[in-house]
Symmetry: C2
């Protein structure tokens, strides 16, 4: 296992008593090589602990075994899990990754493209920062596959992976309905935000299928805890009857919860709460969750996008990545009463 173990293919060939080209073919599976020769060479390679020099291979093949990642903002709270999911998947496929962060500066994009080109990357993953900002397509700049994660581009036909916002709203709605809730209110984040709109659509669709109207109008504000509290107060003051609130994210849900508690309402008995993002971290040995939430699956989304760069099994186009309900104390313990 020592670093000094620089056994070369020539060494293997010499020991096996064959030519360099035969050794190469035998080990790479390609070309015609007799079974005996092949197994003999393989045996010698094993015995000598031969490990092909990846640098030489890359050079000869023109493949870097590296994927370039072009990020708008790699340090964003939501970008991180996408990035980690991608890096981890690529690692499992023996692909390194080279990150270039343009930091929302469009003029840096061209430079990033040039750098990745110079590094002869085998593919490019463009990391957006959500549905809010449209990505500029760089597909045409490369002859290798380009995939976009957590963002949509200005070019139809690009491979894009984004969270399924509508599914998020639908999962929350169906869960609350299954628990017997009939008066479901909705507090969300910024007005006009694409994710917020999708989630609302999903929620309303699930309610419509149950033949129910929402409890009051959707309250839109921002994505912070303070807004969640303010909106919940407004909801209470309005006299609207509600036994559940679907919140645009976990922060809003926590803000709403504190107000519900202060107003003497019990969570979840009087009012059930569902958030989005699954921001509660789980530490080993911990089993109980506080907030019921929808996990948008960003890490898996990053992995899926990475798989597409590396293997390209999916058809091109926009892929809505599924999300998942995570049940916690803010809805649990209530059997469905139909």
């Amino acid at each position: 296992m020592s670093e000094r173990n620089r056994v070369t293919l020539s060494d293997v060939a010499a020991v096996a008593g064959v030519s360099l080209s035969t050794a190469s073919r035998a080990l790479n599976g390609g070309g015609r090589v007799s079974v005996e020769t092949r197994s003999h060479i393989a045996e010698v390679a094993r015995r000598l602990d031969f490990r092909p020099n990846a640098l030489a291979q890359s050079f000869a093949l023109g493949r870097s075994r590296t994927i370039g990642i072009l990020a708008q903002n790699s340090r964003g709270a939501f970008t991180e899990p996408v990035l980690v999911g991608a890096v981890a998947h690529l690692g499992s496929r023996e692909q390194a990754c080279l990150l270039y962060d343009t930091g929302f500066a469009p003029e840096k994009l061209a430079d990033g493209v040039r750098r990745l080109l110079a590094r002869r990357v085998d593919g490019v993953l463009v990391l957006g920062d959500g549905l809010g900002t449209q990505l500029r397509s760089v597909t045409g700049d490369f002859s290798v596959p380009v995939v976009y994660a957590f963002g949509l581009t200005d070019r139809p036909g690009d491979s894009c992976y984004v969270p399924d916002s509508e599914m998020a709203g639908r999962l929350a709605g169906e869960h609350l309905l299954a628990l017997g809730r009939r008066h479901i209110a909705h507090i969300t984040g910024e007005e006009g935000d694409a994710a917020a709109i999708g989630r609302e659509r999903g929620l309303l669709a699930s309610l419509a299928e149950a033949g129910l109207p929402p409890a009051g109008d959707t309250l839109a504000g921002d994505w912070g805890r303070a807004w969640g509290a303010a909106a919940c107060r407004r909801l209470i003051d309005s006299g609207t009857r509600f036994d559940a609130v679907f919140c645009g994210n976990d922060q809003i849900a926590l803000g709403a919860e504190s107000v519900l508690r202060e107003s003497g309402r019990h969570v979840p008995d009087d009012v059930a709460l569902v958030g989005v993002d699954n921001w509660e971290y789980v530490i080993s040995g911990q089993t109980t969750r506080h907030l019921t939430t929808v996990d948008t699956g960003l890490s898996a989304l990053g992995a899926a996008a990475a798989a597409q760069v590396a293997d390209g099994r999916d058809a091109p186009g926009v892929h809505s990545h599924p999300c998942r309900l995570v049940v916690g104390a803010t809805t649990a313990g209530l059997p469905s009463d139909g």
Copy 2:
């Protein structure tokens, strides 16, 4: 900027009317080349948009421009920011990274080492999962630099980067003291956990310097919200007088807060709260923070460790990475009364 733009060093040399070796030397700064020749070649290279083939360079120099990352658990909640910090820093230094996740399986470590060796990585970053588990040193397996992040090894002299737990406790204590709190209680996570111990030591040190005892004994349990609530209830029931609680992490703090509220105590007027981890995500446009917390700086820690692999400016040994107080509503708005 097209991919087809395969201008080679030979092209540059030919157009400039010099030999390949002179062109190489001129562009790489090394060797004796007359000023005119050098600038002429540089000019030609620029005009032709020459970009050296990184694969050929790597092969010739034996340097992969890739750092191997050996992670115990790359998907851990705390490992992620460390990983992202490292990947982002490496990217800015034109270093790709190749992740190998051993997933707590020690027998996979040797395989990971072999793979990184075969890829001829220029350095290795070993990513631990906190102070709880000791890392096995692999420094001896490589001739390139090996650095450990978020964990300590079994070999003295290894370069390790870990969060400064004692500083975390001290920052929390000093902040609460500066706000005039004099009866500071402490609820922490698992008994015997290294981070918990360090934080307690820091808290007690700051109290001792102010000539104050802690309010009651440290309550240790687990790292979950439910424990935070239970411990706070116990604290109240014990009749201990307290006007502040330093909590082992943010989950515990949130659990404690809910109990304080239910018991009619105002946060922060009656009881101020400080957590650890800075788990509250901040979304664009959001300014108010709820929880005062200590950010353990894991992302910067990852970057520092990466910088050490790439440049090696620090002395070897254990580096305690500083943390940072983040003030939120659970302590804010209270002027110091001495």
